[in-house]
Structures are given as C-alpha cells and as structure tokens.
Amino acid sequence: MASLNWFRYASPATFYPVAGRMIPWFAAAAAVLAAIGAWIGLGIAPTDFQQGEAYRIIFIHVPAAWMSMFVYLVMAAWSAMALGFNTRLSAMMAQSLAPSGALMTFIALLTGSLWGRPTWGTYWAWDARMTSELILLFLYLGVIALRNAIDDPRRADRACAVLSLVGAINVPIIYYSVKWWNTLHQGASVSVGAAPKMAATMLAGMLIMAFAAWFYTIAVSLMRVRAIMLERERGSAWVCALPEIKSS
C-alpha cells in the first residue's frame, strides 16, 4: 500500500518521467528566486558601513557554502540508502549530486577569495572555514575520481557510497581540527569571512539566494540523473519504449 507506492518510485523506469515533469518547476522557481535575490543583494540591501559594496559578495558566497555542505549530506544519505537497500536509483542520485556539490564548493571558494581581497587584503587567508571548504572540495573530487576510475557501474555505486559515508563522518572532525588549528595560530583577531551585522534585508537576500541555489541544484541534478539513467540502462525495455528514444 503506502510502502508499495514508495518503492515503485525507486525504479528508474517510473522515476524518469516524474523527474522530467519536476525539472521545469524547480528551474523556474530557481530563476525567479535568483533574480529577486540578486536584486536585493545588488540593489536594495544597504551599503555596509565597514566593508562598503564589497560585502555584496556574501549573497553568493554564503548560500553557495551552505549548499556545498548540504549537498554532501544529501549525497551521503542517498549513498546510505544505496548500500542499505541495494537500489540502483539511490546510487544514481548520489552520482548525480557529486558534480553539483563540487561546483557549489568551487563557487564558494572563488567568491570567498574575491571577498577576502578587498576586505582583508588577501586572496587566501588560511582561516578555518575556507580551509575546510577546500578540503570539502577534495572530498567531492575524490568521489568523482573514484566513480570515473571504476568501470563496473555497480562496483562504482557501492565504492563511492562507502567513500561518501566515510567522508561524511569525517567532515565534522576535519572542520573541528581545522578550526582548532586556526585559533591556535591566529595572530590578528580578524576572522576572514565574518559577515557584517545582518540587517533584515541582508538576511532576507541571503535566504532567498539559498533557496534559489537549492532549487537550482535540484533541477540540475534531476537533469543529470535522467542522463545517467539513459546511459546506464540503455538497451533495456523501458528505455527503448520511451517516446524520445523510439525511432519515429
């Protein structure tokens, strides 16, 4: 009954068209929210007293950083499901999230660097959050590299699942250790990445951009998982029966 319906959507054959219908909604929502967020971030939000206009970068930097961590958690959750229930689709979802997460991490690092230069005088300060973010990028790249290195898709599914879970357990440990290292060695009191005091508009702008990033990631990873499904299941009955595949 309820559980039967749930596992029905665990089959790529049933999920493929569902995902296809979901994508335009999430894409549209992301575009609208991003437009509003950028309008707030670049226009409406007041100029910061200390950092001037440069602070406007946080409207991208902070949501991207949040997403980079959130996506890793979701990827690990799908990995746990893939290992626990041995379902193909869970593994494919994890596979589709890794590149998106890596790109979010990249954007967070890049914008963080561009924010650091005018505000604290350096493109890269070895502060706790940026350093942890860099290590998170390495973790993502590792999962992607392992996926590419293994030819057998099922072995790749399970190996990347184990790696994602081991990584997920280690992320808080890594963050804590880097934070500890940073506080020990910090000479000046400035913490790079300290956002200015949040006016209500600033917070609203960041939250809107965060939702925009979230819906965008959902849309793109759904697009990617559909491609992955076709790649891995081509030749199977349900793929050959798809309208876009059946020769006209």
Partner: protein, 59 residues
C-alpha cells in the same frame, strides 16, 4: 547608475563574483543538457529498431 556599476570601487570583485557564478551556472546547465543529448543518442542507437535509427528514420 554609474555608482551601481562602480560598486564603490569594488567593481571587479563584486561583478567578478556574480559574473563568474553566472558563467559557472550556465556552463553546468549546458554541460548537463549536452550529456542528456548524448545519452539519448546512444540510447536510440542501442534500441532494437536500430536499422531505422541508424538511417535517421528514413527507412
């Protein structure tokens, strides 16, 4: 308007950030769409009715 683009002198950093983000996002969308296209092509070629597919459906 001029001040909007100048961003208090931080134009490169602010517009650079927003610009590169837009670029990365666009690149990801383009890449994923291309991957989907390639996957559909491959799937079409592996479909049982491949004679028709290989000749572009003209047969």
């Amino acid at each position: 308007m001029k001040e909007f683009f100048a961003m208090g002198g931080y134009a490169w950093y602010v517009w650079g950030s927003y610009g590169i983000t837009a670029l990365v996002v666009a690149a990801e969308v383009v890449a994923v769409k291309a991957r989907g296209r390639r996957a559909r092509e491959e799937a079409r070629l592996t479909a049982p009715d491949s004679l028709s597919a290989a000749t572009g459906g003209s047969l």
